[in-house]
């Protein structure tokens, strides 16, 4: 029942809902529509607001764009103007540069002119003061004159009034007596004047005589000098005379020898004659032997052999005689030459000069090229008569012939240049390719060029000096091999004591070192920097004149440090301290340190300063340090303050200094050393030490080997 009621109620409610729904829907639908409409309306309103805002923004943007465009235009025009200004600025700068350079040049002149003007002004002031004084004096004179005039006038008046006054009479008397005295004095005065003139003249004469005396003294000095040079010449002439004597002795010896040869020739001719006779006899015997053919065959054969031997001997002897004859002719030529040389002293001394200087000194540059007519062959002209004679001799010709083949000799061996020798690095090579290569290498031209060979150098007198570094030089030389022969010819038996030597001459301090040498060779010398050298080669014997053979080029080793001199012009002048800073900035710290230690512009002061520093550190006397090398002492200071270890410093300094440093350990207190340095040279000195700490060694990338600044302790551990 309840269910039915419930169902009926539900059905009724459903029917009522179905009937009422459209109305409900219509009612609420309209409400919704109006709600939506109002929402849409509000959206529209908002859209309008946004649109308005957008429009406003658009207008603002347009305005900003316009402003931006204007700014851009302004900017461009400003840039253009800036560029122009920059260009102008650059031009101005370059003008400034020119002006500053001109200014620099003219500043010096201006300074000079300013000083000139100052001097002139001072002179003008003096003159002005003098003029003023003179003017005042003139004024005073004028006033005095006026005063005197008035006095004269007064006196005139008085004189007219009192001509007969007793005072005047008295005065007149006095005047008369004065006149009398004057008449006596006047001749005395003239006499005095005459005497004064005479005295003056005498003084002038005396002066002249003194001048003449001075000139005479100078002449005497010159004569003395001349006398000394004459003495030297006399000594030289004596030496030359000795040489001439030696030559004469040699000539005498040669003559004796020639006489011996002549005797030998005679003996040889006699022997030759005897041999001829013998030969005739043998021939005769031979004929006889032939004729006596009936004799036994053995006898005949023996006879024939003997004869043949004799013939051979005969030929040999004959050949010897011919050779001796030729040699005799050569000797005769020599004797003749020497006799000619002996004929006059002048000629002989010229000969000696030739032998002792030209003959030795003459370089191969005298070797002339001559073209023989038609053949264009160049030939050498030998320098000296003696050599000419020798060169014509058979021996010389022979020798040339022996040497000639060597000149053109080319070894047939073929070799590929500079291939890596390690066979393990090579792979197999195609045989046919090698064959082709090998064929090519068999051509004479290829062979001629394949094996390079250094030629024999001319055996002329050649000396050459070359610099390796400021403290090491290289010297090489060759001397003609016949130099000894020439010496012997010049000095004869006296040539025995002579040896061939080279002299290294220090042209800066006029000292020389002598050492024995061979006819060719080379040598290295350790030398001081900033010094001029030359070498010469010659024959030396104790207490006897040196015979020069040749001399080398001159060479000057450069200074191994900055110049002590500053530019004198005001524009380029630089103070010592400023220059030390420049060196420091250029990476040359050790030089900067050394220059900074120069309290003045000279190295003497630098050395003095070094001694003072060491004296302060050690308590020793300053003079004690003079025995050490100053640059080494400075290097030690630099090493200490740079923090180089004691062991390294002791290793790298010379023995004596090393020993002293070992005994004085207080020297190795860096702070103490630095304090003393700064007290002596100022606080800024520290920066020259800093630079040395950053130096690196000179090892670079690649194949180059580049120099980096010097440092005694470079690369050392600290």
């Amino acid at each position: 029942m309840q269910l039915e009621q419930l169902f009926t109620a539900f059905a009724g409610f459903a029917v009522a809902w179905i009937l009422a729904y459209p109305t409900y829907n219509w009612f609420f639908g309209r409400k919704k529509v109006s709600l939506y409409k109002s929402i849409i309306e509000s959206y529209r309103y908002e859209v309008d607001i946004v649109n308005n805002h957008y429009e406003k923004l658009r207008l603002e943007k347009a305005e900003q764009d316009r402003q931006f465009y204007e700014l851009q235009t302004q900017n461009e025009s400003l840039s253009t103007s800036l560029e122009k200004r920059q260009t102008l600025l650059i031009e101005r700068e370059s003008q400034m540069k020119k002006f500053s350079s001109q200014n620099g040049e003219t500043e010096g002149k201006a300074e000079g002119l300013r000083q000139e003007v100052f001097r002139k002004t001072e002179q003008l002031d003096v003159l002005h003061r003098q003029v003023q004084q003179k003017t005042a004096q003139i004024q005073r004179y004028e006033q005095e004159l006026e005063h005197q005039k008035s006095l004269v006038a007064q006196l005139q008046l008085k004189s007219s009034d009192s001509a007969n006054s007793p005072i005047l009479v008295e005065k007149n008397k006095q005047i008369a007596s004065l006149h009398t005295q004057l008449s006596i004095l006047l001749p005395l005065e003239s006499k005095f004047l005459t005497q004064t003139n005479e005295i003056n003249e005498l003084r002038t004469q005396k002066q002249r005589l003194q001048e003449i005396l001075g000139e005479k003294d100078e002449k005497i000095d010159r004569l003395k000098e001349g006398c000394e040079s004459c003495n030297t010449k006399v000594l030289q002439l004596n030496e030359e005379a000795e040489q001439i004597g030696a030559l004469i002795n040699e000539n005498i010896n040669l003559r004796k020898e020639s006489e011996k040869y002549a005797e030998r020739l005679k003996t040889a001719e006699t022997e030759f004659e005897e041999l001829k006779k013998q030969s005739k006899r043998i021939e005769q015997n031979l004929v006889e032997s032939v004729q006596s053919a009936d004799e036994t065959e053995n006898d005949l054969t023996a006879q024939t052999i003997d004869t043949n031997n004799d013939m051979a001997r005969k030929k040999t002897v004959k050949q010897e005689i011919i050779t001796e004859k030729e040699e005799t002719i050569l000797l005769k030529t020599e004797i003749k030459t020497n006799q000619t040389a002996k004929s006059s002293d002048k000629e002989t001394s010229a000969k000696i000069e030739n032998v002792s200087s030209d003959a030795f000194i003459a370089e191969d540059s005298t070797k002339k090229h001559t073209r023989k007519s038609g053949s264009k062959k160049a030939a050498k002209i030998d320098d000296y008569e003696i050599e000419e004679t020798e060169s014509k001799s058979k021996k010389a010709v022979k020798a040339e012939k022996e040497i000639e083949p060597e000149k053109t000799e080319i070894e047939p061996k073929v070799k590929v240049l500079n291939k890596t020798e390690d066979e393990n690095t090579k792979a197999e090579v195609e045989p046919e390719e090698l064959d082709e290569e090998a064929k090519k290498r068999e051509t004479p031209i290829f062979k001629a060029l394949a094996e390079p060979k250094l030629p024999e150098l001319d055996k002329g007198n050649r000396l050459f000096l070359q610099m390796q570094s400021p403290t090491r030089i290289f010297f090489y030389w060759t001397v003609k091999t016949n130099a000894y022969k020439t010496l012997q010819k010049a000095f004869g038996e006296n040539a025995g004591g002579y040896i061939l030597v080279a002299k290294l001459q220090n042209l800066s301090n006029k000292t020389e070192d002598i050492f024995p040498i061979d006819v060719e060779g080379s040598a290295w010398f350790d030398v001081p920097d900033n010094t001029k050298f030359q070498t010469e080669v010659g024959f030396f014997a104790p207490s006897r004149p040196f015979v020069r053979v040749a001399f080398s080029n001159k060479l000057k080793t450069p200074r191994m440090a900055p110049s002590p001199n500053v530019d004198n012009s005001p524009v380029w002048n630089v103070s010592t301290m400023q220059f030390a800073e420049v060196l420091e900035a250029s990476g040359y710290s050790q030089d900067a340190f050394e220059v900074a230690m120069q309290v003045d512009e000279s190295s003497e002061d630098s050395n003095k300063a070094t001694e003072v520093i060491y004296s302060r550190i050690s308590g020793e006397n300053e003079a004690y340090f003079a025995k050490f090398e100053m640059s080494e002492l400075r290097s030690v200071l630099l090493g200490i303050v740079s923090g180089i270890s004691l062991a390294v410093i002791l290793e790298k300094v010379s023995g004596e200094l090393s020993a002293w440093l070992s005994e004085n350990p207080q020297v190795f207190e860096p702070q103490n050393v630095m304090t003393i340095l700064q007290e002596t040279f100022g606080e800024d000195f520290g920066k020259f030490v800093e630079g040395t700490k950053t130096q690196t060694a000179g090892v670079v990338f690649g194949a180059s080997s580049i120099n980096f600044p010097k440092s005694r302790f470079a690369g050392s551990s600290r």
Binding site: E93, S94, K97, S100, S101, G104, E105, S365, K377, A378, T408, N418, K419, T420, T425, K426, A427, E428, E433, I445, F446, L449, P452, L454, P455, D458, F464, Q466, M467, Q468, S469, F474, Y476, W524, P558, R559, S563, N565, V566, D567, N568, V571, W572, V582, L583, A585, S586, G587, Y588, A697, V699, V700, F701, G702, A703, S705, I706, N707, F708, P709
Partner: protein
Amino acid sequence: MPTGYFSLILHAHLPFVRHPEYPEFLEEDWLYEAITEVYLPLIFIFQRLHESGAKPRVAMNVSPPLCEMLADELLQERYTRHAENLLALSIKELERVKREEPQFIEVVQMYIDTFSASLDLWNNRYKRNLINAFRELQDCGVLEIITCGATHGFQPLISTRESRKAQIQIAADNYRKHFGRNPRGIWLPECAYEHGVEDLLKDAGIEYFIGDTHAILYGEPRPKYGVHAPVRCPNGTAVFCRDIETSQQVWSSEVGYPGDPFYREFYRDVGWDLPLDYLKPHLHKDATRRHLGLKYYRITKSEPKQPYIPAIATEKSASHAAHFIGERIKQAHELRALNDGHPPLVVSPYDAELYGHWWFEGPQFIDYLFRKLHYDQNEIEAVTPGDYLDSGIPIQTQQPSASSWGEKGYFKVWLNEGTAWMYPFAHDAERKMTEVANFYDEISDLERRCLNQLARELLLAQSSDWAFQIYQGTTVQYAANRFKMHIHRFGLLYEMLQTSEINEELLAEIESRDNIFQEIDYRIYRS
């Protein structure tokens, strides 16, 4: 006006090595390696900098023997073969490393790219003649090319004035031949100076030379601005000298940039690392191992070596360039304060071969250096010595000191116990050369050829490279042989002249081998 000036000076020089008598020659590789690693990259970088508006300004010496080799057709042909071989090897290597050592793929790929680009530039852009490229760079204002001694003869060790003069005059003539103008400056071989050299330079119309630091610092009188301003010799020739700080920064093996562990290791090369049979097609016919230019490792302080990573190395070179410029600005401020406001000039001369050959990333460093100088600062201005002279800044007059840039600063590297034997022969030839030049006047064509060749042989014997190599102990045998060879040939020619029996076939063969300076005139040696 900038705070300071900076002048980078590169010295590109190799001795004249040309052996037509052999199909291949080991020492010719010096030139080929330098073309690939140094000259091509530098030319390419300078052109790119110029095109980008970075305005680099560099003084560069291209020495006469190098000019002659770069212009030589035989060597051009041989280089082309060399570069093609390298490219082929690197392509082959890429396949191998993909299979066996993948950690090297990146570096091998870099070589392929580099070699391909180099070959392209060589064949197509520069038409196998790099002289054209250097000339273009000079004409467009990037380079100021200077000359050198004719064959890099060490001036103070030459015995006659005529021979010294010939080294300068022939170099100037050769410069005119290749670059169509007069040289303004000269790189004195080994920066070796001795009093009197300046007169020879002035006679040849040369305005300045490059010297070592102590040429100025030890000169007479004291230089006001030290090495940071040039000086003029009493005859007016200017001298620009080396700044120590920049030398050490780049070049020192202790503190220099090239020692950075991320840069490429020079000494490990596939030519020594890979099996011989594998390499054989890429070696010379004698199948000897040699450096091939493919290096896969970076500088590693301890073994085993680590693989090279090109991108990191590039970054490093950029940061080193920035550091270098920062140091220059600092240095310029300090020097300017010290020198009462005078703008300092820092002159930095280096061997060109340092950049690219020894220091593989060197060309990149130069690239970054000039870009940063142009875009990132305005305190340092890059100039050449010629620019500085043109600026009109006053220069102090001074007599420089004898010096060289070699070890210890003087002549030891070239004159020592191991090389002293060379000088009597060289000096003898120098004396004979002037003797025959004075003697022969009206002569036949054959005699003229003989005399000119005589001069060539003397010049080649005078090259300072031979003594240097002997001292360094690197290629001693080759260097000694080369010296002997030229003295030997000089002797053969001199003998022919003396006897008037000129072997034309032999003369022609020598001419074809030592064909340097075709324009030479023996009369330059007359006294």
